[in-house]
Symmetry: C2
Subunit: 458 residues, 2 copies
């Protein structure tokens, strides 16, 4: 028999066959996805709340967009490889048979931002400082630490060319990392202008410049020789390739970049941009946590100004990154506004944070149910405890045995258990058991809430 | 040029053509979806937090499952009509051309719950008390108040037959409604056993019983005559149809139901179940907020015991509902466990709550930027204010004019504006402007954080 879903958000409907049965077999979660049980949900929510508070303090505003967008909004935005990773939603009803898609799951948070800026225009504050912490979906091959549903955490300033905007993003990212409890981290800062000036100084032909930068970005993974080899493959001559690699690698790379750019106006401008961002951020971020890195490339060619990545001891790759991307909002379909922004790699950071004490998530009070005549009294006692803010559980299992119910209370990490049977009922009292010490005290029913809230304050 | 997404959660990649341009046109949000800008996000998050706190206090645990499931998990669970409303996700890569789907967006929160119970079994507490507040997706025709992405808010107890479990759900729903600020509401309680006993007493043939109940559920919308007419259409004889409708409608319906069931063991059992649930809940919910309703049907035939709906003056339909559904978890592919649960109609309730004062979401302090030489000092001042927990914005626009910047501060609902130009710099002071009164005071830079945190405490 078929039940229609009458009310959005309220009704839950299932096919129940004429015989009242649905044949169902066990089905696993979709590959690359995760279920989060209580402890994980709590840890993640707590982390997200800390990040939100930090971004709020900087005057960034939250934005929530739908999980899916029209397919045409996403198509062509992520490159050929990226397009393949977009989850597409089949058309519905009579169109389902076409096998075509018209919607797609959000692949990142920036294309929706550009759409929102295009849609709401002057309704938004100017500049628009927004953050978003939300899942995105990518049909990547699932693997260790790689999921098809994962959270991104972005903050962006749309509509400002001020260097203070870049500094706000950097400082907010740093504050968020500190709030999350990441003990040490370091911002490496560079500018695309520095990199383009370098290409110019070394006479790298314009058309291969972008690709040369992507190759140079591999200097932290490949040997200098291997990188030089790849540059040759792009058509650079051997002396140029070698000098580029030598300038950008080695312990004195930053000094040699500055030296190489001494005679370039564009290079000096780029270096000034880097120095200014560091100067505006260092007070908040800390002297040892931010510095210039001439070899930082960020292999994404939409960046137009300062760029940065954050690394942390014991955490693989970068845990945050960002930069200025003045042309991107227009490219994504929004108005032609300058912008800068950054991302916090929450999915990388969260698993590496120290586990929280589980004590806080246990019950404050566990109520045993020793006979059914106690139910109404217990419901009333539980109501009083909850109204006082105590996390209170009532035994809902089928055993009437005290030992079994105390085991349940223990499994729930209960601080106190309440025993209430025929004897207690007669006396109008409750036996309060301290689950740590095993001590028991009789407390009059009317006083039990005050007694336990008082204990919690101790 | 194509950039690969190297890092889940971190990289943002776009197709940027060889000429550095992507042609993009404006694309709207998908129909039936909503963007939530800052004020809406805040109002919703605040409401969700209140609900979570309430459910937590009852010892319910949060659960988060992925947005999509394997298609086979959802297929056949929601009836023919429901199946059509499931958003299906196209297979990817070489399989995309088949036009087939292998995944589907979550349609409700209960099928995922059954999957989790099946998957995690004894890893979960027993009974498993879980809540979930999360979006679901249905390809319904978008319309007034009807969306394709909307939040559900469920709490369920899996693995308990105790009447205290039903009462916990009822009390938690009532507490959540109170926490949200719904001023008045009323739980109407019935039991499927009452309804089945009525069908029995009136000699309604077994095979049409379920459908007769669905027709009777329309008594709150249709006239008694129209409902009786539909019952005739099911094959009931005229006297039976008339007597059923008479018993269940009118001001004395509850008394006439009790009277009709006086001689039925099953009927008395059902009524006892109703009375017990009310007795266990009334202390917490309040005398005037809960009562028996013999005509409440809940047109969902998976319910097996007590059922309830909540109505509120000024809110259309029911704003919460639930009941006991002992066979459902098994039907949905989980183990054969008793269960009960309820839903809060958050999407119905949220738009009807009184709007919050926007003052709390404005800036505490707005920093004007009167010349570029001030930037480093301003960044430092802003850092100090934020570290003290003050929501602080720095002017990031392009105007150097004070009037323009003060307008920005006003638009940001800033409580105070800081003015810091050449004159102030010379004196090592900041001019603090009270945005309500227009009063201005010079405050030494080192004291400005203390000055403003002190003011906030006033």
């Amino acid at each position: 028999m078929v039940r229609a879903a009458g009310v959005a958000g309220l009704c839950r409907v299932w096919l129940v066959g004429k015989a009242g049965r649905v044949t169902a077999k066990r089905v696993d979660a979709a590959s690359g996805t995760r279920d989060f049980l209580a402890a994980d949900v709590r840890a993640r929510e707590e982390a997200f709340a800390l990040i939100r508070q930090t971004f709020d303090r900087y005057g960034f505003e939250p934005l929530q967009t739908p999980a899916f967008e029209r397919l045409e909004l996403l198509t062509g935005k992520y490159g050929e490889e990226g397009d393949k990773l977009v989850f597409k939603i089949l058309r519905r009803g009579e169109h389902e048979a076409t096998g075509e898609a018209d919607l797609a799951l959000r692949y990142d948070l920036t294309v929706p931002l550009a759409r929102v800026v295009a849609t709401y225009g002057s309704q938004l504050p100017s500049p628009y400082k927004r953050y978003a912490i939300a899942p995105v979906w990518r049909a990547d091959r699932p693997g260790k630490g790689r999921f098809r549903e994962f959270y991104q955490c972005d903050l962006d300033v749309v509509g400002s060319t001020s260097p203070l905007a870049d500094a706000e993003v950097v400082c907010a990212l740093a504050d968020a990392l500190s709030a999350l409890g990441v003990p040490e981290f370091r911002f490496l800062v560079n500018s695309r202008k520095v990199l383009y000036a370098l290409l110019d100084v070394f006479d790298v032909p314009g058309p291969v410049g972008g690709r040369a930068l992507i190759v140079l970005d591999k200097l932290d993974k490949l040997s200098p020789e291997a990188v030089a080899g790849e540059l040759l493959g792009l058509g650079l001559d051997a002396p140029t390739a070698t000098r580029l690699v030598e300038t950008l690698s080695g312990p004195d790379a930053d000094a040699s970049v500055r030296k190489a750019l001494a005679g370039s106006d564009a290079g000096r401008e780029g270096l000034a941009e880097v120095d200014q961002l560091i100067a505006l951020s260092v007070g908040q971020v800390g002297e040892h946590r931010i510095g210039f890195s001439g070899s930082l490339v960020r292999g994404l060619d939409y960046y137009t100004g300062p760029i940065y990545e954050v690394s942390a001891p014991g955490m693989p790759g970068s845990i945050a990154s960002g930069g200025r991307y003045d042309g991107l909002v227009a490219k994504l379909g929004g108005p032609d506004l300058p912008a800068c922004g950054g991302s916090l790699g929450v999915e990388r950071i969260l698993p590496l944070l120290p586990a929280k004490d589980t004590a806080g998530t246990g019950l404050d009070v566990a109520l045993t149910v020793l006979d059914s005549d106690s139910s109404a009294d217990l419901a009333r006692i539980a109501g009083g405890l909850r109204a006082a803010g105590l996390r209170t559980g009532v035994y809902l299992g089928s055993s009437g045995k005290l030992a079994r119910q105390l085991k349940w209370a223990n499994d729930q990490h209960a601080r106190y258990a309440l025993l209430y049977g025929a004897a207690e009922r007669e006396q109008g009292a409750v036996t309060v058991r301290d689950m740590r010490t095993g001590d028991q005290h009789a407390v009059p029913i009317e006083e039990v809430t005050a007694y336990l809230t008082g204990r919690r304050a101790e």
